[in-house]
Symmetry: C2
Subunit: 544 residues, 2 copies
Amino acid sequence: MTLDTARTIVSAAREVVDGAVARLAASASKDGRISIELVDREQQLAYDLASAASRVAAAEQMLDYGEKGGLQARLTLAFAGEMAADLAARLAGREDDWDLSADAAWNGEGFATAFRAARDTALLEELGEEVSRTTELPSALNEEMSMVRGTFRDFAETRVKAVAEHVHRNDADIPDDIITELAEMGCFGLSIPEEHGGFAEGHSENDFMSMVVVTEELSRGSLGVAGSLITRPEILSKALVGGGTEEQKERWLPAIAAGELMCGVAVTEPDYGSDVAGIKVQAIKDGDDYVVNGVKTWCTFGGKANLLMLLARTDPDRSKAHKGLSLFVVEKPSFPGHSWEYESPLGGRMEAKAIPTLGYRGMHSFEISFEDYRIPAANVVGGEEKLGKGFYLQMDAFANGRLQTAARATGVMQAAFEAAATYAGERHVFGVPLASYGLTRTKLGRMAAIIAASRTFSYRSAQLLGAGSGQMEASMVKAFSCLAAEWVTREAMQIHGGFGYAEEYAVSRYFVDARVLSIFEGADEVLALRVIIRKLLQDALDAG
Amino acid sequence: MTLDTARTIVSAAREVVDGAVARLAASASKDGRISIELVDREQQLAYDLASAASRVAAAEQMLDYGEKGGLQARLTLAFAGEMAADLAARLAGREDDWDLSADAAWNGEGFATAFRAARDTALLEELGEEVSRTTELPSALNEEMSMVRGTFRDFAETRVKAVAEHVHRNDADIPDDIITELAEMGCFGLSIPEEHGGFAEGHSENDFMSMVVVTEELSRGSLGVAGSLITRPEILSKALVGGGTEEQKERWLPAIAAGELMCGVAVTEPDYGSDVAGIKVQAIKDGDDYVVNGVKTWCTFGGKANLLMLLARTDPDRSKAHKGLSLFVVEKPSFPGHSWEYESPLGGRMEAKAIPTLGYRGMHSFEISFEDYRIPAANVVGGEEKLGKGFYLQMDAFANGRLQTAARATGVMQAAFEAAATYAGERHVFGVPLASYGLTRTKLGRMAAIIAASRTFSYRSAQLLGAGSGQMEASMVKAFSCLAAEWVTREAMQIHGGFGYAEEYAVSRYFVDARVLSIFEGADEVLALRVIIRKLLQDALDAG
Ligand SMILES: Cc1cc2nc3c(=O)[nH]c(=O)nc-3n(C[C@H](O)[C@H](O)[C@H](O)COP(=O)(O)OP(=O)(O)OC[C@H]3O[C@@H](n4cnc5c(N)ncnc54)[C@H](O)[C@@H]3O)c2cc1C
Ligand SMILES: Cc1cc2nc3c(=O)[nH]c(=O)nc-3n(C[C@H](O)[C@H](O)[C@H](O)COP(=O)(O)OP(=O)(O)OC[C@H]3O[C@@H](n4cnc5c(N)ncnc54)[C@H](O)[C@@H]3O)c2cc1C
Ligand SMILES: CC(C)(COP(=O)(O)OP(=O)(O)OC[C@H]1O[C@@H](n2cnc3c(N)ncnc32)[C@H](O)[C@@H]1OP(=O)(O)O)[C@@H](O)C(=O)NCCC(=O)NCCS
Ligand SMILES: CC(C)(COP(=O)(O)OP(=O)(O)OC[C@H]1O[C@@H](n2cnc3c(N)ncnc32)[C@H](O)[C@@H]1OP(=O)(O)O)[C@@H](O)C(=O)NCCC(=O)NCCS
């Protein structure tokens, strides 16, 4: 029953989204291709549509989760209500843009009744009451994955949480032993194929599952100290697996997997962030070397890293745009602290300074300037053959980063939810526990539904990515989960009243940490307007 | 036309809110009085209703503003669309709770057409384009107030902004010369009646206007360094004007107005924040003194302050609840820094330590413990006669604090909006200015509409308060503006991409500063559920 109600909502929402996608695809195509210029003429719609489609996709995954038990079904229904309410708010007054008038499912009594059931405050309050008793939502993991999860949860609980506040409040380095122990636990090779020293089967649905599970647990401990350590090796190893020469794979992958080599990603530049194809840093061939000049920025962990994944322009003809870019591995020593400089043994130098940020502290994000810095030609990822193909390798690799970022968001949300539920149970306001009030319960119930959806969708996206597809889904789950994390951490903080604003309470850190998630790894708007909607529209066009 | 369309929307929304208020009043009353226990049974509805009613009230004020010109009318229409979309989202699927089915205005074609016009993305995009060219929205101030505004804007621009980042990032003290100069400019006596050395006429519609205007400008410079300096003298002087003895007025008001005495407010305790009536700190009569014991917390500016407004329990019988509380003025020396202690010349001590916070830095908020601390009986506000009346004086005084906080929110929003508009004009993404994209423009247009509404509503609330009413409106505008400031600063930050997360960009500070606004001066939920809805429901009941 509960699940049928959820199904009614989800399928009505699916129709709405598909209808609007078809409408926009028709008006934004030229010669059978989607034209981004035409899409940009209706940016608000395109953005809303991509965002709504991501939530519908999440809700669809929840329908499977909902079959596993009563609580799961109620979480699914509650999430369907969240999703549909969000969709209704986007639509309101803009039904024509969405081509909605004819949609029988959405306008019918069936949907209305189901939606009422999903939005019922009694449902949400009961859910809130139930989930805050345990705060651990029913898991959909198999036994093996549950064990992995348990191991990393323990580590996060005992080791990561112990240093999280110190690192955050002092903008300190991550303690070396955290990194060493995580390396011993295999944390850096979770989606590197076994043949290259990692733990993944290679081209299997399971390849990214443990990465997602582990990331979530570590991020629950701290986004800055642990949960994000995995992002960079994920991105670099994906590019190496996909595009590196055999020799490069041999040389770097096992060492990355073993946590012997730390990684950084140097794509963004001061003038180019979302628009990767526009970057200016040059790497010009000179003898057996490439000579790099220019400034990269926001290179997280760039100090500690031994390997920087550097995207640079090897073809000085800027009209080649993304086709003039190549990918490099820059080898360097590991440096602690907030600034460093290094001279290449081959000549030239890098100079780097960390950018102070609101949160996401510990790894430090560096602006790095390259001055005639020399890299051996052997460090072009994929060798000569892949010159000019750097952009494609980079994009492909970002999918891993995005999926991983969704899992980071889930971890931060889970931590905030637990803190809020615990605090609400203990704090008395006007003589009774805060958790006994309907509004508090509704908030906790909604948080739980959103977290379950984020987690479920990230598992599904991991499977798709493992099977070789799922690029769009990785962006969808990233966009959805990261925005959701802003809301969940905000409400968790609000539940703490004044104490939520105190740095001594972890929830204040969750809030500022969560804020970065919708900015990096593809800013929210860019994923919506340049990745998700494009694929949705092109698929609609291709389907006829 | 534009304005008529806005009117149609606002009056339909008014009907919806009034209808739901009537419905809830009927089910939450007992013996002709509203029972908060019964309201609490429908907290989500009560919260949504109070929040929606606050926005409807803001939109109603915008209708006057909209008459002043074409741009004003379009801002009004855009805000009406915002308000109605927010209302629609709260209602969705919960129409029965809201007793909505019979509402002809909301369900009719007239509203639907008007709502479509208000939600039209072309309207919002054009608005965004237009407002980002100047970023100064058309003002509704008279010449005198415009001059006041200009003076403080200059001060904020040259003096406050110059130190804002330093103070924030170092959690430093506010430089003394900022305070001295503001004192010379009359900043601390803006709503103290002339007869007591201030600038207000007393019981006039204009009494709070300059306070609101000045607060906004200073907060535009920095919430922590300048915009919040006015809050505490506002609260204390309101209580003294309303309840102090003639001698007390003489003694303190002129010195407060002249900025010779800085003020702090010590109401909140570790276990009691929203529930003021529950506080535990005791002040027990002993000879000519009161002896204070217990812990106050979050006493902002408590170090620098010469006067602490202390609410304490003078009647040890806790069953008297709020009727056992009295208000004191504690005189103390001014201390710089993050901790201090002081022995009363009459005996006993205070010890204080600042609580590190995410933002709102400069004034420092202290936990203060009182140990047998003696205050002369002459410092009971209102003297013997007002013993046990402290709660009422405090509540009455909070109205000033809330109105002032709304103006703080407007100032922070205005600063964030300007930063975002400027940045979007300069930053190029995918080859064109960020400001040329529809989504960016829509965001900027919405920000402007929200800011105009917040400002307009705060002016109106100032008039009401000056005229002796407007307690509920002060809470409404506070609740609405503070939540709005969270959204505006968030979007302004997002427009900055990665740089928004960097502490070197002021927008990152606006974001963390804004976050405190919905927590203090009456947490958002508490204003909705304990002040606004109560008054709305009781009025409905009284009206029959
Ligand atoms: C803490 C932190 C760590 C980071 N770590 C790394 C790292 O390790 N390696 C690395 O390479 N980079 C890193 N980044 C950079 C990050 O990936 C970029 O900040 C991000 O891609 C956005 O780019 P930008 O900052 O240049 O913003 P811009 O591209 O300038 O975008 C500004 C705003 O405009 C919006 N926008 C962009 N295009 C459009 C459009 N067409 N229409 C409408 N709106 C649009 C964006 O969504 C954003 O809101 C990091 C950033 C941060 C803050
Ligand atoms: C930076 C800062 C400066 C401050 N400055 C001062 C100052 O100068 N002087 C001073 O006296 N105080 C000050 N405060 C304290 C502030 O006023 C309180 O934090 C605020 O009133 C909330 O109280 P609380 O923190 O105890 O939260 P609680 O009262 O414990 O509330 C916790 C949460 O529960 C919600 N809630 C409360 N009641 C209900 C209910 N019935 N139903 C549902 N939800 C409910 C609240 O909205 C909040 O979200 C300051 C606070 C901060 C953070
Ligand atoms: C916006 C963005 C998706 C690319 O947009 P764009 O410049 O319009 O590029 P296009 O989508 O036109 O793609 C250019 C080419 O790359 C290919 N491509 C796009 N996405 C790809 C992917 N995921 N995998 C492989 N190839 C891809 C396209 O097929 C196209 O190929 P073609 O030119 O040979 O036909 C990309 O710049 C991006 O992801 N930006 C965000 C940056 C980011 O995440 N940074 C995080 C750093 S931590
Ligand atoms: C929640 C809150 C409004 C009071 O709720 P409460 O304890 O339920 O109190 P009540 O509303 O029942 O009011 C108790 C009495 O005070 C009176 N009162 C309430 N608001 C008043 C006001 N604004 N002015 C004067 N008297 C007021 C009531 O009429 C009632 O009088 P009675 O007992 O003589 O009949 C109050 O505690 C509050 O404002 N909390 C937020 C605290 C805050 O803003 N802190 C900021 C510190 S910076």
